[in-house]
Point group: C5
Chain length 326, copies 5
């Protein structure tokens, strides 16, 4: 689907009075040196993408990559144009899950083509923000690349914060007094951190190259801005590493807690067994059939026996309590 398609001149969107789908018209309106067009596609069919590819001369391998949504983040050069793939991430609260989408950018002289897959990563906001500040947009396609990267990485931070909260919850649960089974949740969180790492890590190197201003097609003056993006990425990567290693430690602690609880249970059970076994022995004694057992003939023999039973139970109870077994 062609979401939007516009010509930008001097940092302003030019109203061409034609449909976004009229690719040739928009492309043909480029007339001044710094004019550029931005074609925005969402889950395009291969036909739609082929039309755009032909019009803008996109490389077949890049187009193939942009069509399916299972690429690694990367920045590749094809002749004088760049092909950028970003993974988008968002956190779905109801499922405690991190969802992924993908944005591919084709950046060439006088044009940018964005291809988006997956729900949670609309570029409409980024486009509107850019159109609202013409002093940024005037820098051409580089400005769009920055805006998109910044937007994507900002969402990484939101996702990292949500996962941070999840880890805090797990931590609390592990060290709570109750019997909890946190291993499944820890497993899921580790899997999502791994997924996030796959989105974040490969992006660091190209962002640093953008920051250093050594990538043709990205404006040198944009360096500090991409350095800012790279810095955010580094922070996100730090958070991922920290959370992952905290989860590992939490998992070990979880195992330790289970062992300690098992110990506690075992001792508590033993004390309970003792509470019953002691009076049972007393009962056994007075169930013996000796001819000469004076207690059996006492007037208060029976209460005496019951007293002995109670006393033996009490003794076990007190000893257990004192040694912390109950």
């Amino acid at each position: 689907m062609i979401v939007d398609n516009a010509l930008y001149r001097d940092g302003e969107r030019v109203d061409l009075g034609c449909e976004p789908g009229d690719l040739t018209a928009v492309r043909g309106s480029v007339s001044e040196p710094h004019d550029f067009t931005w074609v925005g596609l969402f889950d395009p069919t291969s036909e739609e993408l082929a039309r755009v590819a032909e019009l803008y001369g996109l490389h077949e391998l890049a187009v193939e990559d942009a069509l399916s949504a299972h690429q690694r983040p990367k920045v590749e050069r094809y002749g004088d144009s760049l092909f950028i793939v970003l993974k988008t991430l968002w956190y779905v609260d109801e499922q405690d899950a991190v969802e992924t989408g993908e944005i591919s950018l084709f950046v060439g002289p006088g044009f940018i083509v964005s291809v988006r897959h997956g729900d949670g990563a609309s570029l409409t906001d980024a486009r509107h923000r850019l159109e609202a500040s013409s002093q940024v947009l005037v820098h051409g396609p580089s400005a769009v690349v920055y805006a998109v990267c910044d937007d994507v990485v900002d969402r990484y931070e939101e996702v990292a914060n949500s996962l941070q909260e999840d880890v805090d919850e797990v931590e609390e649960s592990v060290f709570s007094d109750g019997r909890t089974n946190d291993s499944a949740r820890i497993y899921v969180l580790k899997r999502e951190l791994a997924e996030m790492r796959r989105a974040v890590l490969p992006l660091r190197e190209p962002m640093n190259r953008f920051a250093a201003g050594t990538v043709g097609g990205v404006h040198r003056d944009a360096g500090p801005y991409f350095r800012d993006v790279a810095d955010h990425l580094a922070r996100v990567a730090d958070t991922i590493d920290t959370l992952d290693s905290l989860l590992s430690t939490a998992f070990d602690a979880h195992i330790a807690q289970i062992s300690i609880q098992q110990n506690d249970d075992m001792r508590r059970i033993s004390a309970a067994v003792g509470l019953v076994a002691a009076p049972t022995l007393v009962a056994g004694v007075y169930g013996m059939n000796f001819d000469h057992m004076p207690e059996l003939h006492w007037m208060f023999g029976y209460p005496w026996a019951l007293g002995l039973m109670l006393l033996s139970s009490l003794t076990v109870f007190v000893i257990s309590k004192r040694s912390g077994w109950l």
Copy 2:
């Protein structure tokens, strides 16, 4: 076995009207500058390989490597020709196992010799696909190298997907409620991932060099295509790393599950013991032989005792239920 042996000119297979086994005839038909021959061998005897080696001037060390199927993936230069070893992988569903084969390629000016070991990696399809698109084949031996590498790496991805499914099954089994013993399966999967890693990792560096176009004998224009192969390899390597680390976490979770189940069993057993021990004590009491035990002479003494027993059992049962021990 000599599987196929053909002369290619201007991207087309030339019908020479001679047997594939007639090595000299095919070799001798090379007459124009961009002509090249492709000899395809499958599990060749040392004699067969020696004949080919002599005709095409292959280096003895490379020939020795190509004869046995236990090499590491590598790309080596011998004078003006290249020697490439690739591991082929395929997944055998019935055994949940990853099988490995090997393809060796000798690439020199005007010829390519492929030596294949192992069932699951036929090059016939790759050859047919190439012969069907003469605009690719026209690039000479580089095109064949690309076609073979692409084919091999595509199968890596298939195997990775099969292993991904296996890991998903293990995950489900580990976190299911039943008593499962998943350690053997996790072990086998880890072993297969290690085997896969040995096939995949050593290939990344030469593919990147092919992509950079810095390897003599491989066409510079083929760069983006090999970059595509390198990209697939990187994805496969990512998947392997992720699966391996997920399996480690799943294994730890498996241990935790076993511990938790043991705890649960222990508590359930204890509750059951209590259910019997309490009425046994009651029976013991009324088995005592005191002269003065009023209950013994009650009309309903016996039902009273049975009631007491039931009551004590019920008490234990209720307490166990409430505290989650049953």
Copy 3:
């Protein structure tokens, strides 16, 4: 809040007779080549920082970073000025916790602007010490940067020492005879070490560059002093790594101790069960109703039975003692 704002000339603070808040007056008093001003801000509002930024021409991205306190330590160049971010750490004894703050430094020709967040990292002492030794201060902004870095890193060492003590305590607790649950404490210490690592590690590379004297804006002669700071950082990093790995080992030992204690308990419980089960069997025997059981008619049959019971208990006790089960 503007904490201080002064002009330094020839290593001495110049008394301008104006308020610290009068930014323009102080800035305007710079007249000689080596004059420089030092503006110190604490938790500034965005308005305060914006005024300073405008006056000193600070880059908007750096200003944005300095405003919030969630940056990674870093050193960035903007034109001819440096932007330095340091994390400050201090140990709060009552909570056994490591708290973090942040100091941002803008260093340009003829000025330094320090922005501090968080309680525990006052720069006032550092400023006073500097003002007291004019032979250091005469080196200009580099001297201030060194003084601040030195101060911050010295506190890292204090925090590392406090954590070292905590680890010693944990170690003692793990290997004590008592039943301890140290996993929560080990977890918390590992989390704080991770936090500390995040503050310390990213600083090493820029400090080494300062030490090498290759960073414009930092005086080459200050090299050995920054090498000293880098050395302290390396020591702190070593300590962190060592403590972290000791904690991992201590944790494993903790698990082993729990297992051993469980073994001990299990054997002790079994011995106790034996102490009761043996006499119970004896009582059972003499509770049998056979017509011909000679002991039942003995004069001292009852004491004999009690003796047997005691003896059986004693036997179990002695065996248990000898085999170390009690």
Copy 4:
């Protein structure tokens, strides 16, 4: 002990008609440009080695290293000669152990001195093979270095294969149904793999340098041959890493198996306790002394009670069977 000492000319051993021990005579017979001598020593005394060292001008530090057999594998340059240390490995089947020896080579213009320690690494075979193929030997000392390295590394592969078999056995034992204690064996295998790694890894870098032909004193044309050795080394190193990580996983699986067996035992024990406890309760009931217990006076009261006991045991048995506890 001087094992052998010969002069080689044009790829042939020259029969000088003197004792191997006559060092000076052999050395003095060198007369043509490509002549070279090969002195072979086995566990030499310091006097023997000193004589050789003086005659061939070997460096004192290298001689000291060659005397004792506790060096790391290394290649060092002393002036225009090379000093090479290799660890030899062999597998002793009876003890399942990897034994280590050492070969030191002094390679200079016109001579090679080999010093061997330890039983399992005879150089005699290598010498005979070399003397049998004069087209190799004609390349001078480089050919000897290659022959020795090739021989040593081939044995690494044999040892790796033996360890592979051991690991396969451990694997089978761990996942067998029996109660096995495999931790000691896994420990020993890991220790031997570590020893092997110490022999193999330091050799890779010098072999790669030999392969690249950048080491003076080793013939450039020998490059592909040393690349072959380096390739074998890489394969051995791969195998070591894989085996080591498989052993770690097998060990974890071993722990899991023990836990699962403990669970199984516990449940089986509990079922057995229930089989006895239930009829004991029945016996307790009919051991009560109530005046009015109709069953006591039934004609078939006793069989009725025994039947009840059997029934209760059977009930426990069936329940246990059904829930998989027996």
Copy 5:
């Protein structure tokens, strides 16, 4: 304390006839180009060190480092002199502990100042050995640096050997049949290995630079000697790594042994319980009060019952034995 202070000329100690404490006199006696002085200090007061520092022009930061004994091993350049810090290690048998000391060396043109902290690292022997071999000493301060480094690293090897023996003992204890608690000892050994690693690892890089002869102030000809030291360091580092990883494996094996012992105990306990429970059931049966229980009236009913008890116990015993539970 000034331990020694001497002038060396042409490899010989010059008898100046003045006290070691007379720093100025010794310093002033330097008259020929290759003369040099060696001042040896042990735990100096800051005043002593200040006097030496002033006389020899030592840098204040280096002096500060030399005063306290908590530095990392390092080699730093201050102008035309070197500052070297080495950690000394020695093993105290009575406590199974590794103790650490420190040696700082100031090496400049015509002088060397050594500062020693801690008992176990006397330099007197090294000085005497050097003075005894004037052909070494003639090389000036470089010879002293080599002698000291060689001495220090030789002691590392001794300590490594002692720790190796400790690890062997632990290994034996872990795999012995007895119930051992080795976790504390493993912990302590790991802590000492970590301490040792901190002393050894940072020294490797400067020793390699000394070996390469690229450090001004250290004689190029001393290269092979420092390479020897570097080689020893590499061996020590290898040993540390191997021991550390063996200890980790031994620890895991220890945990496995504990689990297996717990299993064994549990089964043994269960068998013992069965030995008592079976006859108790028999006793219960004959304690029942049925009117018609023929055995009760048998002449040998009582021995019959005792026999049954014995038989039931024996049955349990035999079954337990056969299934390996006892």
